[in-house]
């Protein structure tokens, strides 16, 4: 659990395939779920595997965001539906600072919309809670190999797109679009949201690509026309 331990450095950002040496040390897994019975159940199941170490079981997205830097998990099993910061937002925010964390979204829902939304927020996999317990282990193995994991039966045809071919903006991207549309610079947005300027730049690039808009004025107009700026006093 000690973040000062030198061992996890092997798996710090940049180490693409830590799975090649599974014997070196157990995979550090963090469980985030506000249902204690589920969290305990998963923990009990995972503890039965030697090559997995459950380093923490947390009960909210906010807690996960706050403690991820200290705990440095390899894999996070994240419940989608939590009060406060939900699993999708927490996933985005964790990836902003620790982009190599492999996050598996846990959910009771098996509709394709959930899965595509989870993937569009940066999750590496989507895991139904009522799968056979061995699936949880294989999901962790699979994402540690650097692959995506999609639960049995729903692997087919998952493309995170709206019908007109546009990729929906994630929660975080909407937040940043709003800030940019209000006329804030990258640096100001970074300050407001407590993230790095480079992260803002990445988001901005993604937003522009998703919307097919090249200028900031275009972003503002788009936001205004779609009712995003309602109440902010911005007029074109």
């Amino acid at each position: 659990m000690s973040p000062a331990s030198p061992e996890p450095d092997k798996f710090a950002p940049g180490a693409r395939h830590p799975g090649v040496a599974p014997q070196a040390r157990p995979v550090r897994v963090m469980i985030v779920d506000d249902h204690p019975m589920v969290a305990e159940g998963i923990e009990a199941i995972l503890e039965s595997y030697d090559d997995i170490s459950v380093i923490a079981t947390l009960s909210s997205g906010q807690e996960a965001i706050d403690r991820v830097a200290d705990l440095r998990p390899d894999v996070i099993l994240m419940d989608l539906n939590m009060p406060g910061v939900n699993g999708l937002s927490a996933t985005e925010m964790i990836l902003e600072t620790r982009s190599d964390t492999r996050i598996l979204i846990l959910s009771m829902h098996d509709t394709p919309e959930y899965i595509s939304t989870a993937l569009s927020h940066g999750a590496r996999g989507y895991l139904l809670k009522d799968v056979p317990t061995e699936e949880i282990k294989s999901a962790i193995d699979q994402v540690m190999q650097g692959e995506r994991y999609l639960c049995t039966g729903t692997r087919a045809a998952i493309t995170p797109q709206t019908a007109d071919g546009r990729v929906p903006l994630t929660n975080r991207e909407q937040t940043i679009l709003l800030q940019l549309a209000l006329g804030k610079s990258n640096r100001e947005v970074a300050e407001v949201l407590d993230i790095s300027v480079r992260t803002v730049e990445t988001h901005r690039k993604n937003i522009k690509a998703k919307l097919g808009i090249s200028s900031t004025a275009g972003l503002t107009r788009y936001a205004l026309e779609h009712g995003v700026l309602q109440g902010t006093g911005v007029r074109l």
């Binding site: 406060g84 937002s89 709003l178 026309e225 995003v228």
Partner: protein
Amino acid sequence: MSRISFHQITQALGSLRRPGSARALLLTATVPLIVTVAGLSVLVAFEARRLSEREIAELETQLIEAKKRELKNYLALARTAIARDYNPALPDDAAAMERVKQTLAAMVYGSDGFIFVYDYSGTNLVAPRQTRLINRNWAGLRDVADTPVVDELIDLARAGGGYHSYLWTKPSTGETERMVSYVIGLQDWQWAVGTGIFIDDVLETVSAARAETEQRIRATFGWIAAITTGALWIVFLVGVIIVMRDRRRADRKLKALTLRIFDTQEEERGRVARELHDSISQMLVGVRYALELARRRLASGDARASDNLDRGIANLSAAITEVRRISRDLRPSVLDDLGIGPALQALCEEFEQRTGIHTEFETVVFSNRLAPEAKTAFYRIAQEALTNIERHADARAVKLSVFGHKEGATMRISDNGKGIDASGGRGAGSRGLGLRNMHERLERLDGRLTVTSTAEGTLIDATVPLTHLLPPDTLGGPRRAPNLPQSDSDRPVSEGTRR
């Protein structure tokens, strides 16, 4: 119709007093009425006064003309009476003059009438009823209104004769009244002979006529005011009755709606209870049997225990699936978790699979911008509309889209079916109910539902105002869940968080 209670009337009056449609109705009825009546009254009064003024003036002229004719007659008589003495006399025939004076002095008539004579220097020679005037010079005499009297009479006499009007003391009463005099000249003797008549009776008649007109106008005004007040009362009462009827109708509608909600709720509860009891309970009981059997077999070392465990696990999985289905039927969690876009997308996909009707869904890239109540309304309206299309429209393609704009957010559902009006008969009733449900859902949110139906298809636009888009500040702030309704909960958040 049942009788109208006092309570209802006070309620209706209350709603008239409140700003709103009732008051607007009353104002639109009364303001033009009052303005029209006021305008007409002023016009009528003005015209009436003008007309009667003209009549009165004519009357006055006629009366005075009559007086003047009378005067002329008197003087003609006088002239005839003195002709015998005057005509043959020389200018300095003092005896003839004396005879003429006496003749004239004798010619008094009425209570105030007499013949007067002035010589051209202004000295009075004859004034039988005002003898104090006689033998005194009255040149330069002016009446109380500063009109020259004697000088003017003499001038008229010099010119041959004429009328003059001035104020003069009435011999019989001693009061000053207006009089009209007619005067002729006896040029040989340089005499002005005249007689005057008081026209106070004429003036009285005229002013009485004027007063009568005024009185009539005032009476007319009184009538107009009374009729207007009556009309206003009628408008007011009709307004009260209309408001009361509307209120009653709304009450009835509300009652029916409440009843329908209760019925639906009860029906829904019954269905859920049945499903829980019929499927979930039975499955869980099965699980319990399997687990108990497994325990007994484990205790007795029976190897078939694991079969029972497998059975139990399989049953549990089925139960979980069943719970998921029931829960989704009650309310699709995707609506709360992911927003209206993914929820409608799922709805459309499921609809296409079930009905084989080609269904397109289109939305903008924003998610979770709609307030929960608007999301629910849109979702239920979409469900209702798709059900209608499936049952009645005979459509081959459906298009559903959600988009935000400057006025709010709109969901548009269009199909290429046969339209609503064409679908008569059995389907029309339930379809009408469906449309009413949609209307009611949006009405509650100050939204708007427009349905355009032709033989080529139906287009439904459901719009909610901007107030039902989540304000952008729920998107902002560091390390915060951007757009979930729960993000306003009071859970501790990290430093630097802004609200």
